[in-house]
């Protein structure tokens, strides 16, 4: 069903009922109501969804600011027992901060917390939430890569761990049983760095579930899905439903509105640290949610102009081979976006790293604008010289140095160009870049880590796109990015294409491919299974191709 295209000043969006109404308060009646109205700039009243006598989790008036940044303002949130509650909001709207307050990482400035009707005094000590039945999967999972699975499982655990002795054999047995119960095939003794992203996400979720009390509790998942391909998301949802069925309450953060629609009963939207609405998910139209998140309409549909079949071939990959890839060849035309996708382990996500020299290939040639090189001999430095840039998926580790300034991060790829550096010129250039790519920040000299995830990603794109590359390699370019920012990133990619750059984008998000890709290669076990073109580049078709029986064919 489609909602009416109401402007945001016109009244409540269908299905989003406002909390203030539900409490019988009128706007302006109380200081809190007034503040809430000012803060969101939201003209619509808000109504409570499910009114419950004793909610599992009740947060009220939660406020937290860091210096001048108001990360949370007077936030109220209730979660019923057995409820799956969505938490939405643009990048930097304060979702993680809310969760970190619950986890005892941050001390709030004000606010009350009740669990099962019992008052819990804030701030919580780290790990104390566990005693009240709270368990967390944090954004970026919070796993220590060089430690083993079992060590990660028990670190900080108080439920299963005595203070004076760890019986490793018993813990390992317990871990095996736990993994079996949740259908995970993991050896507890492998280092986490040897796990795939998906395995890491699943493990983090199981770890959190393991911390929950046997009866109920609250599981808080902060964006666990961006790493996961579709069927793993399904699997995760299965797990969540099972847990909810056992009475566990779940708070689920995601930027994917379809996921929210599918799994949650109610959801809360944050904007600039304020709750703008809490609503019952069922029957709430997508657009209304998007509008409430972003505060304005967001266009949908394809971003990229139609492909030009006559454009010259700009990039040619021949016989690319690696440990997981059997020799594969493909080409990309100037101004074309080539999507790579597939199921977990199909190897599509390795291609960008191999071509950029970030991981070493076993064999193959790469031709860009007629210049041919052996892929095995490519290094990141050489790739950059040749106009090939890589936007890695792991922003924190591979994208930005978080304690260094925006400007320095932004200008890092330009370093080879001149030997000396002029900080003023650098700041000026960075400001231009920030404007062009819509990076919201106070000052170029600010540390990159102070930006929200979306702004960090825009900065990463900007820093590479400014080189005027010939070939751009993207790995999950909008992972953890809100709908508004996502759109902006697509537009940047479109601009780049318009200038004739060839783009290869590896992603597991099919609607992203639908929005930007001219052509999609679907991978299976290290080979190209299917090529999709034209109208076939659609979510539906891509999904079908991925899940299709092992049959290589070419859709036109």
């Amino acid at each position: 069903m489609r909602p009416s295209r109401s402007s945001r000043f016109q009244g409540p969006a269908e299905g989003i009922r406002c909390r203030a109404y539900g409490r019988g308060q009128q706007a302006g009646e109380s200081v809190r109501g007034l503040r809430r109205r000012l803060c969101g700039g939201l003209q619509v009243p808000v109504e409570a969804g499910i009114v419950e006598a004793a909610p599992r989790l009740a947060i009220s008036g939660l406020t937290k600011s860091f210096g001048g940044v108001h990360a949370l303002r007077d936030v109220d949130l209730t979660v019923a027992s057995g409820e799956i509650h969505g938490l939405l909001g643009t990048n930097g709207s304060g979702k993680s901060t809310l969760i970190k307050v619950l986890a005892g990482v941050h001390a709030p400035d004000a606010g009350r917390l009740e669990v099962d009707g019992r008052q819990v005094s804030l701030p919580l000590a780290p790990g104390e939430g566990e005693r009240h039945g709270l368990a967390f999967v944090h954004q970026n999972l919070a796993l220590l890569p060089e430690a083993t699975v079992i060590e990660n499982l028990i670190a900080g655990d108080r439920r299963h761990l005595g203070r004076w002795h760890i019986d490793w054999a018993a813990q390992t047995r317990r871990a095996r049983a736990l993994f079996e119960k949740h259908g995970l095939r993991l050896d507890p003794r492998t280092p986490v760095e040897d796990l795939t992203q998906v395995q890491r996400a699943e493990f983090a979720i199981v770890r959190a579930a393991d911390r929950l009390a046997d009866t109920g509790g609250v599981l808080v998942l902060d964006e666990p899905t961006p790493f996961l391909p579709l069927d793993d998301v399904r699997e995760l949802f299965g797990l969540m439903r099972r847990l909810a069925g056992q009475g566990v309450s779940i708070v689920f953060v995601s930027h994917d509105i379809d996921e929210i629609l599918e799994i949650t009963e109610r959801a809360t939207i944050l904007r600039d640290g304020c709750v703008v609405s809490t609503f019952v998910t069922r029957n709430t139209p997508r657009d209304a949610i998007v509008r409430a998140i972003v505060g304005s309409d967001v266009a949908g549909g394809r971003v990229i102009p139609a492909p030009v079949d006559t454009a010259p071939v700009r990039v040619r990959v021949e016989d690319l081979t690696s440990a997981t890839l059997s020799p594969l060849s493909f080409e990309v035309r100037a101004g074309e976006v080539l999507g790579l996708t597939g199921l977990l382990g199909s190897g599509y996500d390795e291609v960008p790293y191999l071509l950029a020299g970030a991981r070493s290939a076993a064999g193959g040639q790469l031709t860009v604008d007629g210049q041919t090189v052996a892929v095995a001999s490519v290094t990141p430095a050489r790739a950059k010289r040749d106009g090939i840039v890589l936007i890695p998926g792991d922003r924190q580790k591979a994208g930005l140095a978080l304690d260094i300034s925006l400007a320095e991060n932004a200008m890092l790829p330009l370093l080879g160009k001149s030997r000396t550096i002029h900080p003023d010129a650098r700041n000026k250039a960075t400001r231009v870049l920030m404007d062009r790519f819509g990076v919201k920040a106070r000052h170029p000299a600010q540390a990159a880590g102070e930006l929200s995830g979306g702004n960090q990603q825009k900065l990463v794109l900007g820093k590479w796109f400014q080189l005027g590359p010939r070939l751009v390699l993207l790995d999950e370019p909008t992972q953890g990015i809100d709908v508004g920012a996502r759109r902006e990133i697509f537009e940047r990619i479109a601009e780049l294409c318009a200038s004739g750059t060839a783009v290869i984008c590896a992603t597991s998000e099919f609607d992203q491919l639908e929005a930007i890709a001219h052509r999609v290669l679907v991978f299976d076990r290290g080979r190209i299974k299917t090529q999709l073109k034209g109208d076939h580049v659609a979510k539906q078709h891509i999904a079908e191709a991925c899940y299709q029986e092992d049959r290589v064919h070419d859709a036109i």
Binding site: K100, A103, G104, V105, A125, P126, G127, G129, E130, F136, H138, A142, L143, L144, E146, A147, E151, N152, I154, A155, G156, D157, R158, L161, G162, R163, W164, H165, I166, W168
Partner: protein, 320 residues
């Protein structure tokens, strides 16, 4: 065993193997005097203090903090032990608990400054070390103070088990304790996570601040124990005793992280590292080389040993 299992075992015990080679080498040169029980008991008994200082370093190192003040903590404690016991006549049984308190207090003050003001541990403990050195010079009036109670000497250096002075067994017990703590207790896991990923630790519910405090207090107490044993070994305290131990202890801590549990600071590895280096030094002086050769050996052996362990592991990239 598969190839990689072999490599792994070779890596774990590589340093011990090199150690044995060194022993055999010196043994071949001077079988009569090097390969004797009395020589080995001498080696084992004399470096107990260094073992304990190294243990004191690896605990905060595991949690990601340097404790450069441990050497001066040792010096101050040995000096206070001498003053209280030899000069002021306080019985040694009362001095020891007092000294452990002093060590714990030094660790706690380090931690308080590091944690509350969020300063790098290196600079705080460097400053604290210099400060403590000043205090030592002050209380001792820069004098070496001897005349410690024979009871202390007896239980440290004179009494023996299997011909080895007691001090060795104290060091061994402490090493086992630290090994157990790092490997088999919740605190050990918390230390590891705190050191390798502070933010991750925090998010996993580890009380990072308390863990770092604990590590520094443990280090302080180990420093104090080393100080008491130092006084018991030399029968005296001098105002510069500990200074020379700091760098060798760091060397042993990092060398120890290449064996037994490669890639992690570990207590047994540290013990092996200390005695490996000391055996070499002893061997050189038994064979009769000039003292500068000791430095050549020490530096060379340190580098060679880590190179060998890296070659065995296939030059693996490590955090340490």
């Amino acid at each position: 065993m598969t190839r990689s299992d072999w490599a792994e075992q070779a890596e774990r015990f590589g340093l011990i193997f090199v150690w044995i080679v060194v022993i055999l080498l010196f043994g071949a040169l001077r079988p009569d005097s090097f390969l004797t029980w009395s020589n080995f008991s001498t080696i084992l008994g004399s470096e107990a203090v260094l073992v304990i200082v190294t243990l004191g370093l690896i605990v905060p190192l595991t949690a990601g903090d340097f404790d450069l003040s441990i050497a001066q903590n040792l010096t101050l404690v040995s000096m206070l032990t001498a003053i209280l016991n030899a000069r002021m006549g306080l019985p040694i049984g009362e001095v020891i608990p007092l000294m452990l308190l002093v060590g714990a207090a030094i660790g706690a003050i380090n931690a308080a400054i590091i944690l509350y003001f969020r300063v790098h541990s290196l600079i705080v403990t460097l400053g604290m070390g210099t400060f403590l050195h000043g205090v030592t010079l002050w209380v001792s009036d820069s004098q070496t103070i001897g005349g410690l109670s024979p009871a202390l000497l007896k239980y440290v250096i004179i009494n023996r088990l299997f011909g080895i002075p007691f001090s060795f067994y104290y060091a061994l017990l402490l090493a086992l304790g630290v090994w157990y703590m790092l490997g088999y207790t919740a605190l050990g896991q918390q230390l590891l996570f705190t050191g390798r990923g502070r933010e991750i630790a925090r998010l996993s519910g580890v009380p990072v601040g308390r863990v770092r405090l604990m590590a520094l207090v443990i280090s302080g107490v180990l420093g104090a124990i080393a100080g008491i044993l130092y006084a018991g070994t030399t029968g005296s305290a001098n105002p510069s005793s500990g200074t020379a131990l700091l760098l060798p202890a760091f060397a042993a801590a990092f060398l120890g992280a290449t064996c037994i549990k490669p890639g992690r600071f570990n207590a047994l590895g540290s013990v092996v590292a200390v005695y490996f280096l000391v055996t070499g030094i002893n061997g050189l002086s038994v064979v009769g080389f000039q003292t500068f050769v000791q430095d050549l050996f020490y530096g060379g052996a340190l580098i060679l040993a880590v190179i060998i362990s890296q070659l065995v592991s296939g030059r693996k990239e490590r955090a340490l």
